[in-house]
Amino acid sequence: MNKLLVTVSPHIKSGRTVRSLMLDVVIALLPACAAAVVIFGPRALLVLLTCVVFSVLGEAATRKILKRPSSIGDFSAVITGILLALNLPVAIPLWMAALGSLVAIVIVKQLFGGIGQNFVNPAIAGRIVLMVSFPAAMTTWAKPFFYLAEGANALSPSVHAISSATPLAALAEGAELPQLLEMFLGIRSGSMGETCALALLIGFVYLLIRKVISPVIPLCFVGTTVLLTALAGFSPFYELLSGGLLLGAIFMATDYTTSPLTTKGKVIFGVGCGFITAVIRLFASLPEGVSYSILLMNILVPHIETLTTPRPFGEKEARAK
């Protein structure tokens, strides 16, 4: 008989791996990617590819330079690339998309130790860096289906195709709003992946069925924002469907690394994100606040965790005696 393997128990495992979880997130993002390509044309695909390629190459190169084992096999860099792309306007110059990806992966993720170690969501940090550096390009919105009228120019929207305000901006300016059904299907201006609520919800249901995420953060996040803005007199449906609320709540705020481990902590985190988003929407000069709210709450995660560390089994009862 060959030598027997001796290890500490348990001797069986659930079979879930980091790669299978990350692949599930990629799959859950595919409807939103497809919707982006349908609504904003082939250029959306180009932006997506640029972000994914630069994220993965950036991760591979950094790991190599830092002499660490390769980690691109876990697919987390692919997710960062897709998420960043979905948070960009379709007309963004490709070099900016590439730059944003490198900032997200190299600076925010790898320089802090790689997967599981970054203290803010890489894609959100990447988006905010681009937002601060290139405010004009980051708020140049193309009209939905602009590419159908552009013919040869489908890949680079002309002046006629752009400058359509997002619903939130329109709301702030008092301009005419798109119909609710159009909003639900994503036929509106905005970041590539945030417009189609239907696609995002399909992804959400998939993540829940596959038990990749718990629904606590998205529900608390969206619920708080919708409730607070409704109390301030805005239409809850428009608030729900506009801006990056669903994309942020479902895919960005639920990032494992940058959200709390405990259920209680998740509630605080989700409500906090929703509160900050509502405050920014209601009072700040920015029309949208999802990215900033998640970023701010990311930073608070260690404190939330300290506050919500559960007491070991039976300890409360022992003290009560």
Partner: protein, 444 residues
């Protein structure tokens, strides 16, 4: 009619383990005694026994071959008749070394003289019987039974819980006990309740064992004189339902605080096979010399339940079950969640063993270890409300102060965290390490 009770609370977290109860329908088969048995002198928590036989002595089935004067210990008996060949040190899978008595079988199967039914009329006689039966907690820890049952008169224990949850995958030996000897189980419970003054007996069985529940109910209902003081509780089949604190919580709603014992919340927990073996000893006078062992796992040709003379080697038992049909990667005593990986198939079967599981590579693959992604699965899985990923971090940093604060000593090493971890982190190993870090700091 005796109604089946529902659980009054539920276990937090846990692991979605497969059940794999392939041997549930396999009647227990008596294995012939092997040519040689090796009986270690340490088969329980507490003081080891010293051999009272020497090489060349003739011994019989049920004869005492090791005893100790220490309170926390249980005598050890010969499981076969034959000649003591040697007494040699044996390296146990725990890493400890102890003396082991090697006995060569004379194939006469001579029973020890003086073995006769035992009468128990008082608590003292019950404890004496427990000690003489050699019984230790069969659930795994191997706590001597007479120590456990030695409750203070004002202990306030009102409930005897019989653990037949058997939440470990593969193992069916307790289930078979319920089906094959339900009368013995019920009689044993009544005996212990009577002499310890316990008013309520709850037999706790998981809901995926309907035949076991039916067999127990049949016995309970067959005795019209019986008051409804013994009942069956049907628990959800979820790992680690059978852990002592979880069992008490679900069956009675009471929580055993960290560092406390079940008796502190008025409960006494006994394994179903233990109570049955105790009653068998009362009925016959034959101490614990044979155990039912579930033999299963992908590498075993004919899985089943086997009555094994203690001290038989793992290899003897596997050969009795048709040997291997494929190469085993690991051989465990106990279940795959908390069982011990054995380094050698020549290791003997001990009192507290209840299964031999020989796993193939596909059953027990070791996932590649990668960084923690903070997915929180370990936190959600921990039935003791601990945060395994944080404990790992503090253990690696040697931070004993924080380990005390997060309550690592509450960890029962059930493995739910490590089972669930997608990054393949050996969390149970870190829990053990964390306890060591804490102990060392405390010793300073």
């Amino acid at each position: 009619m005796n109604a089946i009770l529902k659980p009054v609370s539920k276990v937090r977290g846990g692991a979605a383990t497969p059940h794999f109860k392939h041997t549930a329908d396999k009647d227990s088969v008596r294995m012939p005694a092997p040519g040689l048995v090796v009986i270690p002198m340490q088969q329980h928590i507490g003081a080891p026994c010293r051999p009272v036989v020497k090489p060349g002595d003739l011994v019989t089935v049920g004869q005492v071959i090791g005893t100790s004067d220490a309170f926390v210990s249980a005598p050890i008996h010969s499981s076969i008749s034959g000649k003591v060949k040697a007494i040699r040190p044996l390296l146990m899978s725990s890493g400890a070394q102890c003396d082991a008595v090697h006995i060569e079988n004379d194939n006469q199967d001579t029973r020890c003289e003086g073995i006769a039914p035992v009468t128990v009329t008082s608590k003292a006689e019950l404890l004496e019987a427990c000690r003489n039966s050699g019984l230790v907690g069969i659930g795994g820890a191997g706590f001597p039974l007479h120590v456990k049952l030695n409750l203070k008169d004002d202990s306030g224990v009102d409930t005897l819980l019989i653990n037949a949850a058997e939440c470990e995958p593969y193992i069916t030996s307790d289930y078979r006990e319920c089906i094959e000897f339900p009368e013995r189980v019920v009689a044993g419970i009544a005996l212990v309740m009577e002499h310890l003054g316990i008013v309520r007996g709850l037999i706790c069985v998981e809901d995926n064992k309907p035949d076991g529940i039916a067999a127990l109910l049949r016995v309970l209902n067959a005795d019209p004189g019986r008051k409804q003081d013994i009942q069956v509780v049907k628990l959800p089949a979820k790992y680690p339902q059978g852990a002592e604190k979880m069992l008490i919580l679900t069956a009675t709603g009471r929580k055993v605080p960290p560092g406390a014992l079940p008796s502190d919340v008025g409960c006494l927990v006994m394994n179903v096979s233990s109570i049955s073996v105790l009653q068998h000893y009362i009925n016959t006078g034959m101490p614990l010399v044979r155990k039912r062992i579930t033999v299963d796992g992908g590498a075993i040709r004919s899985p089943g339940n086997v009555f094994v003379p203690l001290g038989s080697s793992i290899g003897d038992v596997i050969n009795f079950c048709g040997g291997f049909k494929s190469e085993p990667v690991k051989i465990l005593t106990g279940g795959p969640m908390m069982g011990t990986a054995q380094y050698d198939a020549a290791m003997p079967i001990l009192k507290q063993n209840n299964a031999i599981i020989a796993l193939t590579e596909s059953e027990t693959y070791e996932p590649e270890e990668s960084a923690c992604i903070r997915c929180g699965r370990c936190v959600a899985a921990c039935p003791m409300s601990l945060m395994p990923t944080l404990i790992e971090r503090y253990a690696r940093a040697g931070d004993a102060e924080r380990l005390v604060k997060v309550g690592v000593s509450s960890c029962m090493e059930c493995g739910s965290c490590a089972f669930s971890c997608p990054a393949g982190r050996p969390l149970v190993q870190y829990m053990k390490h964390a306890k060591l870090v804490q102990r060392k700091a405390g010793a300073k």
